[in-house]
């Protein structure tokens, strides 16, 4: 073996330097959309991808992208989409983000067609839209069940087309936008309070690279790798969350994690891999081991009005949605995940610890293969189960983090003490409140990707002088990155990751309790000591052990934020369920929990939620608002409504 020749880590360190206007960290949907926008604004743009170009986690999004285009049901509008999003997030959403998202997503989807995307069509040739959990009308633009792949490929190919323009005009594909594949950023570098660059390494060679840039867009996705049962890939180690924290930005809503109700539970090796919600949207039903369609027992009061009470009504809805209410299988994800969890705990689960998801008895085999080709493929290939003949076994899996970097809703600029830092997609927080609706993530990353990219370009324009990277900071970053390779006494990074996953899965999982959360914080503190001493065997060239060792500290700090916030929030809402505080508390709805870093330790603050504009508040029934708002807020709402009514009456008389 040739490893030893690469062990010269303490020798002279070469650092490759690049200068860019905008550096986008993350090459999923949000990152690519941001990069396209920055490049279209004339900025020299770098895209940093932890994997190969086009392999982003966005490909895992199956169902579709929610946008109120009204192609299938013309009653749909941005107001209805906004309402659904706020309901889904249990009113904890940043209302402005939800508003922008609902208004702009149709344009973002149509724009993709001009990049070459081919969505499934309606009979009159428009983009087809499908039903999904929590959406009042068919709203998800889709391509079979591989919409995420279509989205990433389309954006990837748009970037290639921009590069072809640059090649024509400037002689080089990389003249104005370049993809750095298999490159990991370990540190953001600051000049005072301004972003000055990003430091990282090429996975392939282990060589270091420094990007000097006045603006950085974080689009690194989520944190799911801290959980054992997860639909997320190895990249999802909370890098962006941690980079932002260390640069002086804030994280909000970190207690809210979405456990997707239907992950595969068997075989063990694929536990957690996603089974798309479209299975339920297309007629799939959930049954327990007794064969009972149990979701009718779990419709919470806030949703009672919108959901069917009998299987007969629910079944009629698929063909006649205007005159029937939706099946309870299509409740928001948090509700379905909790219901499955309760069924399994009550001993009515399948042998592998899930419940049955049955589409075989609901649709003809041919139709299943046509509508759900990749699910059919996935179960056949991974579990040797033919979903046209047998039910699937499913259970909750860690899927998405609602929490993330606290940003200005319009520009995506990070709040906190840092300037020049922007965030979009899963790594940013606020848009989805306490729970994300399926289909809202793909449109989220297009809407806010574009915004973040555009505003990052604008920020660069108004800078008087370029921030400078400090040499000392680079040296520290090099030392930190090399440390695990130079230690040989520490623990194996894989063991540490397993231990971290055990703590988060067991103690900060779907159902949380005060004592367990407190215990989790103690264990995380112990893990922090151990992670600080982690050692990685081997050299610098493509060494996954070393890469994981460096990712661990990010996973750890983000896990601490989640555990701390989960302990603090004494209510149950969306993706945060406390057994000891099982109901929603309107007082808590008014608060975001904000995490920041003070030296090495996570600091937690309470911050009031921005107040929703009255015309947006007016989109809801008073009866519905009463479920979420405090009496005080309701009184305010009534006063406004009365004033409006008086106003209107006054106008009529004159």
């Amino acid at each position: 073996m040739t490893n030893d020749s690469h062990r010269d880590t303490s020798a002279t360190t070469r650092i490759e330097r690049h200068h860019y206007d905008v550096v986008v960290i993350g090459a999923g949907g949000a990152g690519l959309r941001a990069a396209i926008e920055a490049r279209l604004a004339g900025k020299k743009t770098a895209i940093i991808s932890k994997s190969l170009f086009g392999k982003a986690h966005t490909v895992m999004a199956e169902g579709g992208a929610a946008a109120a285009m009204g192609n299938v049901n013309s009653r749909d509008s941005w107001q209805v989409h906004f309402r659904d999003t706020m309901r889904g997030g249990k009113f904890l959403n940043n209302f402005r983000m939800a508003e922008l998202h609902a208004k702009e997503s149709p344009q973002r989807i149509w724009e993709l067609e001009t990049y070459g995307a081919l969505f499934d069509r309606t009979k009159d040739g428009k983009i087809s839209q499908r039903n999904f959990g929590g959406h009042e009308y068919p709203r998800l633009a889709h391509v079979g069940d591989r919409t995420g792949l279509e989205l990433i490929r389309t954006l990837q190919q748009k970037i290639v087309s921009l590069q072809q323009e640059d090649k024509r005009d400037h002689g080089s594909y990389d003249a104005r936008i370049k993809v750095f594949a298999e490159t990991t950023i370990t540190e953001l570098l600051l000049d005072g309070d301004r972003v000055a660059g990003a430091f990282g390494y090429y996975r392939e060679s282990g060589e270091f690279v420094l990007f000097e840039a006045p603006a950085v867009v974080l689009a690194t996705g989520g944190v799911g790798r801290s959980y054992k049962v997860t639909s997320n890939s190895w990249e999802y180690t909370g890098d962006g969350h941690a980079l932002a924290l260390r640069a002086g930005a804030n994280l909000i809503n970190m207690e809210f994690l979405q456990f997707h109700p239907t992950g595969m539970v068997w075989p063990v090796s694929v536990k957690g891999i996603l089974v798309t919600e479209s299975v339920r949207g297309d007629g799939g039903i959930l049954k327990n081991s007794e064969g009972k369609r149990f979701m009718f027992d779990y419709v919470p009061d806030v949703f009672r009005k919108q959901y069917a009470e009998t299987p007969e009504e629910a079944d009629r809805w698929y063909t006649d949605p205007d005159n029937n209410r939706r099946p309870p299988e299509l409740l928001p994800r948090d509700e379905v995940a909790r219901a499955i969890n309760s069924e399994v705990k009550a001993g009515r689960g399948t042998p592998a610890g899930g419940v049955y998801l049955d589409i075989a008895s609901r649709l003809p085999a041919e139709e299943i293969r046509r509508r759900l080709p990749s699910m059919h493929h996935q179960f056949k290939g991974l579990a040797d189960v033919d979903i046209t003949k047998e039910p699937m076994e499913v259970g909750p899996t860690c899927h998405y983090v609602m929490g993330g970097i606290e940003v200005d809703p319009d520009s995506g600029a990070a709040y906190g003490s840092v300037r020049g830092l922007f965030a979009a997609g899963e790594v940013s927080g606020g848009m989805h409140g306490s729970n994300r609706l399926g289909g809202n993530s793909l449109s989220d990353l297009l809407v806010f990707g574009k915004r973040a990219g555009g505003h990052a370009a604008g920020y660069v324009d108004q800078l008087a002088a370029r921030p400078r990277v400090e040499v000392a900071a680079v040296e520290t970053a090099v030392e930190t990155a090399l440390a695990p390779l130079q230690r040989d006494t520490g623990e194996n990074p894989y063991t540490l990751q397993q231990d971290l996953q055990a703590v988060m899965g067991d103690l900060v999982g779907i159902i949380r309790r005060e004592a367990e959360l407190a215990d989790a914080l103690v264990r995380l503190a112990e893990l922090r000591e151990r992670v600080a001493k982690v050692s990685a065997a081997g050299g610098r060239r493509y060494n996954p052990g070393w890469h994981l060792a460096l990712d661990l500290r990010n996973m750890l700090v983000v896990s601490e934020c989640t555990a701390k916030a989960a302990l603090e929030r004494r209510e149950s809402r969306g993706g945060h369920t406390r057994e000891d505080y099982p109901t929603m508390d309107p007082q808590w709805r008014r608060l975001n929990l904000v995490c920041s870093l003070e030296g090495d330790t996570v600091r937690l603050d309470r911050k009031p939620l921005p107040k929703m504009r009255t015309e947006l508040l007016g989109l809801f029934d008073r009866a519905e608002l009463a479920k979420y708002l405090t009496d005080e807020e309701l009184a305010e709402f009534d006063a406004l409504a009365a004033a409006d009514a008086a106003d209107a009456a006054g106008k009529e008389t004159h």
Partner: protein
């Protein structure tokens, strides 16, 4: 509950390496990628391997398992015998970086060279109207997860590195086909581009790419062959053929783009006179004309295309998926000998005397 299984994994880098033996625990329902992860967590923490989704959707964990190009995450351990040693090697067509990780930048270069979608000038975003049946053909190709297994198995580059500059490979043929079949793409020369710039003519349709595609895209039948057929249609258009008989060689009106650096098989054939028959076989136009006398012109004679040859003038081999240890028949695998007499383009010297 696990059992120990034997694995041989290639470890090394660009400077060389070797197959290393490991005995690893394997549990029920596991796939090859699980075993590699277990090795990383235990015996070989620095074993390099790409992966992402672990659900066959991202196309990262491409590797050769017992010599067959496959996705590690979709290869179940139950497909092997209990006592079978599983050999895992990196993709052979691309240069090794380390262990199972190869440098696949070739593919990204080819992707950059393929002209992008050209939006119709007169349609605003939101006004695109297409029928489902019309988008489905392109959608099949857009299922591609870019695992590059088809690129890896394609013998035009697998054993012939020197073909790489002139040959884009199956992945980018279906990209061209996808754009060609896109109902609203404004560019009209996708086929000609594939022929002249991407090296479509090199492909002699051994279908290895289709065989390894984890998305079951019919790369050859639905992508490459229709592209070839339409290129060939233009080249073997009867009028053009007639023209080639009237004009002297060199004066033949060209109907499609050709470029200098890619001598596709079809092109070299066309330049040689456009016809060759099983009977003649001499490739000499004069001999051919002679041989064609007395032929039953009412029967349809397919215009054959010669298989592509490599730089040394020989037929390339696909040892992986080919069913015999030799080159494919230069007459086409669908031809068995002896040919039925009525199919022969043979004119007996005495045959005219009989009538």
């Amino acid at each position: 509950m696990g059992t120990k299984r034997n694995f041989r994994i290639w470890r090394g880098d660009a400077d060389g390496g070797e197959l290393t033996d490991y005995a690893v625990e394997v549990n029920e329902g596991e796939v090859v990628l699980d075993v590699i992860h277990r090795l990383q967590a235990t015996d070989a923490p620095d074993l390099a391997c790409r992966w992402n989704c672990k659900a066959g959707k991202c196309g990262s964990c491409s590797m050769e398992i017992n010599g067959m190009p496959k996705l590690g995450c979709m290869t179940r351990m139950s497909t092997f015998e209990e006592d079978e040693t599983v050999t895992v090697t990196p993709l052979r067509t691309f240069p090794v970086i380390r262990d199972l990780v190869t440098d696949v930048s070739f593919n990204y270069e080819k992707a950059r060279e393929t002209p992008a979608f050209a939006p119709p000038a007169d349609l605003a975003p939101g006004d695109y109207r297409m029928q489902q049946v019309d988008v489905e053909r392109s959608q099949e190709f857009r299922k591609c997860i870019e695992c590059f297994l088809c690129q890896n198995v394609c013998h035009v580059i697998r054993d012939h590195d020197e073909n790489k500059p002139a040959f884009s490979g199956p992945r980018y043929f279906i990209r061209a086909a996808e754009l060609d079949m896109h109902p609203l793409d404004a560019k009209t020369d996708r086929k000609e581009y594939a022929q002249s710039e991407q090296g479509l003519g090199f492909c002699n349709i051994t279908k290895c790419c289709t065989e390894v595609c984890p998305e079951h895209i019919k790369i050859t039948d639905n992508g490459i062959i229709p592209m070839k057929e339409r290129v060939v249609d233009r080249r073997y258009d009867p009028l053009v053929w007639l023209g080639s008989k009237i004009f002297r060689r060199g004066q033949v009106p060209q109907t499609s783009v050709t470029s200098e650096h890619s001598p596709g098989a079809v092109r070299s054939n066309a330049a040689g006179g456009g016809l060759h028959s099983h009977a003649g076989g001499s490739h000499d136009p004069a001999a051919e004309t002679q041989a064609q006398q007395g032929v039953n012109w009412h029967r349809e004679v397919p215009h054959p295309t010669a298989p592509a040859v490599d730089a040394s003038g020989k037929l390339p081999l696909t040892e992986l998926t080919f069913d015999r240890a030799a080159a494919p028949s230069p007459f086409g695998d669908d031809v068995t000998f002896p040919l039925p007499p009525e199919h022969l383009n043979f004119a007996h010297p005495d045959q005219d005397q009989k009538h």
